[in-house]
């Protein structure tokens, strides 16, 4: 047991908890240094790089509360911007065996608050808040004989972790790595991937610029017997699945916000209860009740905060102020919120 673990055991003990209750030891430790927490996973930014004009790559030092990840998974990353903690999901891009320092590459989307903030404000010493890793876009423990890693745009991040993981465990099967970017200037991780390829003859690399005449994915791009892992926009995944129906895929669709005066349509998903319903008129509290759920609540007029719950994704409108918010992982009062489109609630 090293000193760090011992420290964590001691500070996390029941006796200490009784002495520092009800707030808990982290609420005191963080006042000394934000990353000193023993239960809350946090990281300190140690290096900031800009691979392209639209990205920022952060090297971060997670504290002992971070429990690691499997290549391909994502972590929720929280960053405070003008007093508000914004949370986004990013896939670490390092080998899953090498978690002393994590690396994240963040792409700035149009109108994206967090990406553009980190692109211009991330500095060594900054604190980030992490969650446990999650996600099912992972490789089977028994590695396939032949692997193809296909990515489009910022979908490169989880497959970089897969590539680095395979290489670091001495995988000897064939690895085909194909990355699609709009322009050559958007390509991510090219020098790093080429360095891997030159050191490992079983790694073949192709970078394609789709808007500069590069050939899109089609039949024959990859050998049929490769297990494909693909991450990127839905069109790329569809194209891959056409040729490789058993491809393991993950897509990302940036949230679209379409606010019209017409009645909203879409689905409300209550994730914890595993219940979904088509959007009906009324507040989310009313719709939850109509679905047979009994969420905690009080005043039903927005003052007591008793119905506060986490909106994981989707846009809602505050009926008192008319304000629309599409923030991920946002605390909302469901008694004064109506859905504007698809909404997923942790309820």
């Amino acid at each position: 047991m090293n000193a760090r673990t011992l420290n964590r055991r001691l500070l996390g003990s029941r006796l200490v908890d009784s002495l520092v209750g009800p707030h808990g030891i982290d609420r005191y430790l963080e006042l000394i240094r934000p990353t000193l927490t023993v239960f809350d996973a946090r990281a300190r930014v140690v290096a900031v790089e800009h691979q392209t004009e639209r990205t920022v790559t952060l090297t971060i030092d997670p504290n002992g509360a971070f429990t690691g990840f499997r290549a391909g998974q994502f972590v929720k990353v929280g960053v405070e911007i003008d007093g508000v903690r914004r949370t986004r999901t990013y896939s670490p891009t390092i080998s899953e065996y090498d978690v002393r320092l994590l690396e994240l590459t963040i792409t700035v989307r149009e109108g994206g608050v967090v990406g553009s903030y980190l692109r211009s404000h991330a500095r060594p010493g900054m604190t980030l808040h992490l969650s446990d890793a999650a996600g099912s876009f992972v490789m089977p423990a028994e590695r396939p004989d032949r692997v193809a890693l296909v990515s489009g745009g910022s979908g490169v991040t989880p497959v970089i972790a897969m590539l680095r993981t395979l290489v670091s465990e001495g995988y000897t099967g064939q690895i085909d790595f194909i990355h699609y970017g709009r322009r050559a200037a958007d390509w991510l991780y090219k020098p790093a991937v080429e360095a891997i390829a030159s050191a490992h003859p079983n790694v073949r690399v192709r970078y394609v610029a789709t808007r500069e005449g590069g050939e899109r994915f089609s039949a024959g791009t990859l050998s049929r017997d490769a297990q494909v892992f693909v991450c990127g926009p839905p069109e790329l995944i569809d194209a891959v699945r056409l040729e490789h129906p058993d491809a393991v895929a993950e897509t990302f669709t940036p949230p679209t916000l379409d606010v019209s005066d017409e009645a909203a349509s879409g689905t409300v998903r209550f994730l914890r209860s595993d219940v979904s319903r088509e959007i009906a008129p009324g507040t989310l509290l009313e719709q939850a009740e109509a679905s047979g759920l009994s969420p905690e609540h009080g005043c039903r007029m927005g003052i007591c905060h008793g119905c506060t719950c986490t909106k994981q994704a989707g846009a809602v409108k505050n009926v008192l102020t008319g304000e629309v918010s599409a923030e991920e992982y946002e605390e909302i009062r469901i008694c004064i919120s109506v859905p504007v489109g698809d909404v997923a609630l942790q309820l």
Partner: protein, 394 residues
């Protein structure tokens, strides 16, 4: 009957509501980094005072250290409960999306479980403020603080009960949501789950203050114990004083369930203004009172960070003047004296009031008649949880 005041028409009341909504929107739009920095600075100060106070009390057998430690821990508990705990649990910092400042998961350094407080205070008291039979903060089920409460001989001890509540306030608050008066009167069943919650929270508070930290002091244990006990009592007296000045001074209005039923947002605002009173004082006093000295502003905007109330109060005062509404305020000693004068007056029967069959708040003593009378005359006081409120939301 919807409430009104003076010559205000229903249209005036809705205009009043719209003006207050506009203040709310303006302030909410301004919230940002400085508000977060403020509460973090306060938390840092509180945790520092707490650690410092507890460290000094480990050497409590040295009188100057005992005094300094007890003072630091008292201030720490007051800050924790009022400017931090009460306000965070109201959702004043929910907009930050920071888990440790989340209203629904925050716990405070007092015997009352956060969940029960969120129900009895944020929901019941703030929704039904000063409505007889619905707002259980009127008399807390043990005091006579309003003429509307039927007198009975139990209330001869009004001042004694109030003093006892003051000294043991954290425990009074802890059992408040159990509605033990209703349980004793046979109107409600004892909620064992809630009782267990209180036992667990109150128990861990007592374990920390009265067993663990004294044991750490070794032979100095009695001094540490005494210091922790004193700090809890100081906090109790202070919190009681501030809170009782919020709604009980003379001139604060009370309402009936009929007044409240089906009210509009404007009427809800009006009721909050008429049913609350402020305490005047300097900036440090406001922080120590959790800005509950701005009780009127707090009741209008319970989930806006309390540091904003001082500046909001200027607009609210101006609105009150324009609409001819009272703005009840006074220094602490004056407001508190007013409260105790009222408690003394109400310990005796109200002259001219029609005396019906007495209803002792602790049932079982008044004979079989008692139960039916209570059930009959306080029908509206039925269990609030089951009530279907009609919000002002259109």
């Amino acid at each position: 009957m919807p409430i009104t005041y003076g010559n205000l028409t229903p249209e005036d009341i809705e205009a009043l509501g719209a003006e207050l909504d506009a203040i709310r929107d303006r302030v909410v739009a301004e919230l940002g980094e400085p508000d977060l920095e403020y509460i973090r600075k306060l938390i840092k100060a509180q945790r520092g005072l707490e650690l410092g106070g507890r460290a000094l009390l480990e050497f409590g057998w040295l009188p100057p250290l005992w005094l300094a430690g007890t003072a630091a821990l008292s201030v720490s508990k007051i800050l924790d409960n009022m400017e931090i705990g009460h306000n965070v649990m109201h959702g004043q910092y929910d907009w930050t999306q920071i888990p440790e400042l989340n209203s629904q998961s925050f716990e405070w350094d007092t015997a009352c479980p956060g969940d029960q407080w969120r129900h009895s205070h944020n929901y019941v008291h703030h929704t039904y403020t000063n409505v007889h039979g619905l707002d259980r903060d009127i008399g807390y089920g043990i005091l006579r603080i309003s003429e509307e409460q039927e007198w009975n001989p139990y209330y001869l001890g009004n001042l004694i009960w109030a003093t006892m509540l003051m000294l043991a306030f954290e425990w009074g608050v802890a059992v408040h949501d159990l509605e033990s008066d209703q349980v004793l009167a046979g109107n409600k069943k004892l909620d064992r789950r809630m009782l267990k919650q209180i036992w667990k929270k109150g128990g861990s508070q007592a374990l920390k203050d009265y067993v663990l930290f004294p044991l750490l002091a070794g032979p100095g244990a009695p001094f540490t114990f005494a210091g922790n006990f004193t700090a809890n009592v100081v906090r109790n007296i202070w919190a009681f004083s501030i809170i009782f000045c919020g709604h009980f001074p003379e001139g604060v209005e009370e309402f009936s369930a009929e007044d409240q039923a089906g009210e509009t947002r404007g009427e809800w605002y009006l009721r909050q203004m008429l049913g609350s009173a402020n305490i005047t004082g300097g900036p440090l006093f406001h922080i120590m009172s959790g800005n509950l000295s701005f009780q009127i502003e707090h009741h209008l905007f319970p989930d806006i960070p309390a540091r904003r109330y001082a500046s909001i109060s200027e607009d609210v005062r101006e609105i009150c003047e324009r609409y001819g509404l009272p703005y009840n305020k006074g220094p602490l000693h004056k407001q508190l004296f007013s409260v105790f004068k009222k408690l003394a007056r109400l310990s005796l029967p109200t002259p001219g009031a029609v005396t019906r069959v007495p209803e002792p708040p602790s049932g079982g003593e008044g004979g079989p008649l008692d139960k039916s009378t209570t059930a009959g005359s306080e029908a509206s006081a039925g269990p609030v949880r089951e009530r279907e409120p009609e919000p002002a939301l259109a």
